[in-house]
C-alpha cells in the first residue's frame, strides 16, 4: 500500500475541519497556500537533525568537568591577583595623596601628623574605587543582538 501515514492524515482532518475535501482542494488550487506549506516543510527538513558521532554526549559532559576545574583554578588565581592589584593601587594613590599633603604642608609651614596619613590613605582608597567604577561603566560589553534575541 502506497498511502501516506494514515494517522497523520487523521490528525490533518482536525485542522481541515468538517469539509476536508474542500480544504484540500483549496490547498491544491491556491499557489500561496502551497508555497507556504512548502516553506514549512523545508524548514522542518532543514532542522531534522544529523546523527552525532557515538559518545558525543559523554565528551561534552567531560569537557564541562574540565572547564569547571579550569574556571575554578583561574578564578582563584584571578581573586589573588585582584587583591594584590587593589592593595598596590590603594598604597600608590595614598602615597601620592600623602606626598601632596606633605608638599602642601611644607608650603604652608605645617607638619603632617597621623591624621594627615589616615586621610591620605582614605583618599587613596576613595580615588581607586571611583576610578574602578568609572572604568567598569565604560567597558561593559554589549551582547550581540542575535544572542539577546534569545533572551528576554
Amino acid at each position: 500500500m502506497s498511502c501516506p501515514d494514515t494517522t497523520a492524515l487523521i490528525d490533518l482532518t482536525l485542522v481541515l475541519g468538517d469539509r476536508p475535501e474542500e480544504a484540500l482542494r483549496h490547498v491544491i488550487d491556491c499557489p500561496d497556500c502551497r508555497s507556504v506549506l512548502g516553506a514549512a516543510a523545508r524548514i522542518r527538513h532543514l532542522h531534522a537533525g544529523e546523527p552525532v558521532r557515538p559518545g558525543f554526549t559523554d565528551g561534552v559532559v567531560q569537557a564541562l568537568g574540565r572547564q569547571g576545574t579550569e574556571t575554578a583554578e583561574s578564578d582563584r588565581g584571578r581573586g589573588l591577583g585582584r587583591a594584590a592589584w587593589w592593595a598596590a593601587h590603594v598604597v600608590l594613590v595614598g602615597a601620592t595623596a600623602f606626598m601632596t599633603s606633605v608638599l602642601a604642608g611644607t608650603t604652608a609651614q605645617i607638619r603632617p601628623g597621623p591624621r594627615a596619613v589616615a586621610i591620605s590613605i582614605l583618599a587613596g582608597a576613595a580615588i581607586t574605587i571611583l576610578q574602578h567604577r568609572d572604568r567598569n561603566r565604560r567597558s561593559l560589553p554589549d551582547a550581540p543582538s542575535s544572542i539577546q534575541s534569545g533572551l528576554s
Binding site: 508555497s35 514549512a40 524548514i43 522542518r44
Partner: protein, 177 residues
C-alpha cells in the same frame, strides 16, 4: 527533553544538561553543518556551543524556546570559527587557489550556502516570529504549548506563524532539500 530538563539546566543540574545534549545535539549539528562542511569541525562547534550555553545558562529567561536560544549560540559559535578560519586563510597565500584555476561547481558547498541562507533568514525575523517558527516547526510544539510558552493567545501564534512563513517563503522557494 521535558520542561523539567530545561528548568534543571537553568539551575545547574548536570543530569538535565546531559539529557538536553543527548536530545538536541543532532538538531544543533544540522545548524553547524549549515556553516562548516567538515563534520568533525561541526561537532567541535556544537560542543563549544554547549559549553557556552552552560556558562550563560543564567541568561536564559525560561520563556520562549530553549532550543531557539541554543540554535543562536551554535550559529554564533560557527560564525566566529568561520571568521577566524577566513582571517587565517587571508595571511596564508599558499592555500589560496592559483590564478586561472577554473572554479569547480561544488554541490556540497552550494547546499551549505542554501542552508545558511535559510537559517540567516529565520534569524533575521522579528523575535516573536522567529520564536514561533522554532517552537511550532522545529521543536514541533502544539499551538497551545507555543502560546503558553510565549504568553499569548493561540490565535496570535497562528497569525504570527502565518506572517513568518509569508516572510520566509520567497527565500525558501529556491532551496530544495
Amino acid at each position: 527533553m521535558t520542561d523539567a530538563d530545561a528548568a534543571g539546566f537553568r539551575s545547574g543540574d548536570v543530569d538535565a544538561f546531559r539529557a538536553l545534549v543527548d536530545r538536541w545535539s543532532p538538531r544543533l549539528l544540522a545548524v553547524a553543518l549549515a556553516y562548516v562542511d567538515d563534520r568533525d569541525v561541526a561537532h567541535d562547534v556544537v560542543q563549544d556551543a554547549w559549553l557556552r550555553a552552560w556558562e550563560r545558562r543564567g541568561q536564559f529567561s525560561g520563556r520562549g524556546s530553549l532550543l531557539g536560544w541554543l540554535i543562536t549560540i551554535t550559529r554564533n559559535t560557527a560564525l566566529t570559527r568561520l571568521r577566524r578560519a577566513r582571517s587565517r586563510d587571508a595571511v596564508s597565500p599558499g592555500e589560496l587557489p592559483s590564478p586561472g584555476t577554473p572554479a569547480k561547481p561544488d554541490v556540497a558547498l552550494e547546499r551549505i550556502a542554501a542552508r545558511r541562507a535559510v537559517l540567516d533568514a529565520i534569524d533575521r525575523l522579528p523575535n516573536r516570529q522567529r520564536e514561533t517558527v522554532i517552537l511550532r516547526l522545529i521543536e514541533g510544539r502544539s499551538t497551545r504549548e507555543a502560546a503558553a510558552l510565549l504568553g499569548c493567545a493561540e490565535g496570535t501564534v497562528k497569525a504570527t506563524l502565518h506572517r513568518a512563513l509569508a516572510n520566509l517563503t520567497p527565500l525558501l522557494e529556491d532551496w530544495a532539500p
